[in-house]
Symmetry: C2
Subunit: 404 residues, 2 copies
Amino acid sequence: MSFSFLSHLECPRCHTQYDADTQAHFCTCGSPLLARYDLAAAREQFSKEMLQQREPSLWRYHELLPVRSPEHVVTLGEGMTPLLPLDRLGKKLDLNHLYVKDEGVIPTGSFKARGAAVGVSRAKELGVQVLAMPTNGNAGGAWATYSARAGLDAYVVMPEGAPLITRNECAISGAHLFLVNGLISDAGAIVGRAVKTHGWYDASTLKEPYRIEGKKTMGYELAEQFQWNVPDVILYPTGGGVGIIGIYKALRELQEMGWIGERLPRLVAVQATGCAPIVKAWQEGQDVSELWKGSSTIAFGINVPKALGDFLVLDAVRSTNGYALAVDDDELLHAQAELASNEGLFVCPEGAATLVAAHKLREQGWIKADERVVLLNTGSGIKYPNTVQVSVPLLQPQDELPVA
Amino acid sequence: MSFSFLSHLECPRCHTQYDADTQAHFCTCGSPLLARYDLAAAREQFSKEMLQQREPSLWRYHELLPVRSPEHVVTLGEGMTPLLPLDRLGKKLDLNHLYVKDEGVIPTGSFKARGAAVGVSRAKELGVQVLAMPTNGNAGGAWATYSARAGLDAYVVMPEGAPLITRNECAISGAHLFLVNGLISDAGAIVGRAVKTHGWYDASTLKEPYRIEGKKTMGYELAEQFQWNVPDVILYPTGGGVGIIGIYKALRELQEMGWIGERLPRLVAVQATGCAPIVKAWQEGQDVSELWKGSSTIAFGINVPKALGDFLVLDAVRSTNGYALAVDDDELLHAQAELASNEGLFVCPEGAATLVAAHKLREQGWIKADERVVLLNTGSGIKYPNTVQVSVPLLQPQDELPVA
C-alpha cells in the first residue's frame, strides 16, 4: 500500500490543478495551493482500526499526509497532544463538557512544530536545500529546529518584539536569524525579495502547500480523541489562520473517508481586539479581510494584520455556522491566570484568548451548556515569561516560612 | 481487577514494612521509603498486550502505580515521551545506535511532571490539603501546576538563582512561592521547619515515597519503546538521583513481572564537575556520598551537593555494572549546541551533559560501537534562555537579507 495517497495540488479559488511532485508555491491566480489526496483509494485501503497500533505522533496519519516515502520523514515525536477536561472552569462557565487540546506538549512547545515537521519533511523530499521564512517567533523556532534535523539551511526573519526564547531556538539550531524593525509583514517583504534573488524555497505561511498539512492533524487527532464523534464547538486563536483552515480541511477529508458523519463542529475564530481583521470581515459579510492598521496585542502569535488565507478562514467559519470574535489583552491575561490556577494549565496568551471567547459565547447563549466545547491552546506559557507578573519574597536561610 | 497492585511501603535499607495507605515519609532508621506492589498478582492479571490499546501517558501502567482509584488521578497528559534516534551525532561519536529520550515533550517541559503527577495524585488520595517543598526550579513548577489541577495548596521555596520561568509557573498556578538567598539545601531546611510547625505534607525529594513512582515510568516506557528488549546503556543527569533510582526500580519490577529478561542496561550517573558527590563516592568505592562544598554548575537541576538517595543511586549504578562521571560546564554547553544544530533538539543543559559523557565513555572503550545507548534528556532548553548566547543582526524594512 502507498505510504501517502497524495494526488495533486489544487487552487481552492479557481480549482486549477498542479503536479504535487515539483516545488510549487502559488496558483497563477495568486491563491495558495492545497494538497489533495486520492481519498477514494485511501478509503478502500486505510481504516480507523489500523490506527490503534500506531505510535502516538501525527505520522500515524501518514496515508493522508504529503510525504511519499518514510525515509523522508523528519520527526521529533510531534503530535497526539493531550485532550484534557476542564471541569473546574467548565462549572464556572456553565459548560458541562469543556476541554482543552494542549499544543504546549509538543517539540518546541508550540503547535508550529506540526507545520514544520510536515513542511520540512516534504521540502526535503522535493530536494530543497535552503529555505527562508518570516515569523512572529514560534514558527521560526520550529522551522529552524526541524531544518537542523533535516540538514537543511534555514533563513529566518522575525520582528524585534517576537518572544526572546524563539531567538534562542533559531540561533542554537544554526539557522541564519535576523530581526526586523517592524512587523511580520515587513519580515515577509524582506524574505520575499531574498527568495526571488537567491532561488530559495519560500516557507512563508501558505506560500507552500505543506505546512497546513501538518497543522490539519489537530483535526484528525480531535476526531480520534472524541472517538470519531466530533465535538460541537472548537475555538481557535486566529492569526495567519492556518490552524483553523487545516482543521476544517481535515474534517472534510474525514467526511469523505466516511470516518465521521455529516455534522461538523462550529469553528470559532478568536482574535485580539488590537488586531481583528477576520472578525471585522466576518461581521461585515466580506469574503476577504482588509489590512488591520496599527495592530497591537500581547498575544504576539495572532498579531497578523492581513492573512494570506483570510478567505479560507472565513469560509471555514461560515461553512460550519461558526463565529468570529475578538477579546481584549486584559481579558486574555486574566484568562491565562484562570487556566493556570484552576486547572494547572500554563498556556500561551493566544490559547488563553479562547477561554474568554467561550465565556462570552456561553453568556450570549450561542454555546449551550451541554455542548462539547474545545479550546485550542496553541502553545506553552513557558515561552512567554513576560505575560506573568511575579513578585516573590526573598528569605534568608534562617528565616521561617510565612503562612498565607 | 485492581486499578493498582500497591501493597505496602518498604525501607530499602533495613527492610521494615509500613502501611501504604497512611501518610508516610521516612523509616524509623532515617531512610526514604519505597512503594512495593503485589507483583505476583500483577503478573497474573496484567500483561504487555493490555497496554496496546491504552492512551499514551504514564497512566497506561496504572497497575504498577500507587494511585488506588482512577478518580484520584491528576493528569495533564504526561508521559510516553519520544524516543528519537540521533543518527548524525551517532556517526560523529562512532555509536551506531544512539538515542535520546526527550522529556522536554511533557507538561511543564521537564521530567519533573512525572513525579508531580503521581506524587500529587497520591497525596490527594491520602487526604493531603497543603504540601510544601524545596526545589531547584523545575520540580517546583511541576508540583505547583499539578497542585493547582488537584485543588491542593502548595508552598514552594527555591534558590534565587533557579530558572526564572519556573517562578512564573509557580506564581501563575497560585502556589505560595518564596526565594531563598542560598542553595536548595537552605530551601530544604526552611521547608523542614515549616512542615513540622504546620503539619503540612513534606513533598521534598524522597521525603515522600510517590514522586519516584512517577519517575520510574521512564524505565517502563523505555522498555516498551524498545519492544521489551532493553538498551545496553542509559546515561542519566544525576542531581537528587530520583530518576535513575526510579528507572532501576522499574526495570527490577519488569524483571519480576517477567516482561524483560536477566540483562539490564548499564546505568551511568552523569554529574557536573562543579558538583559531583556521587561520582566521587563511586570512584572511592563508598556506599554514600559526602556533601560537596561550594557546588556550582550552569546545569542548575544537578546542583545537589548531597542527595538523600545517594546510596540508592550508587547501588543502581553498581548493580548494573554502570559508571559515574562528571563533565565540565563548557563541555555541556558545547554539547547543547551540537544537539540543536545536528539533530534539532534544544535540550536543557542537564540533558546535554549526557552527550558529553557518552562521547567520553565511547572514546575510552567502555561503550562499544554497536551498543544501544540512550541519553536521557530531562527537559526542554526553552526553560533556560541564558544558556544560549544570541547576537542577531537588526534589519530595517527596506534592507536586503545578507547571505551567509
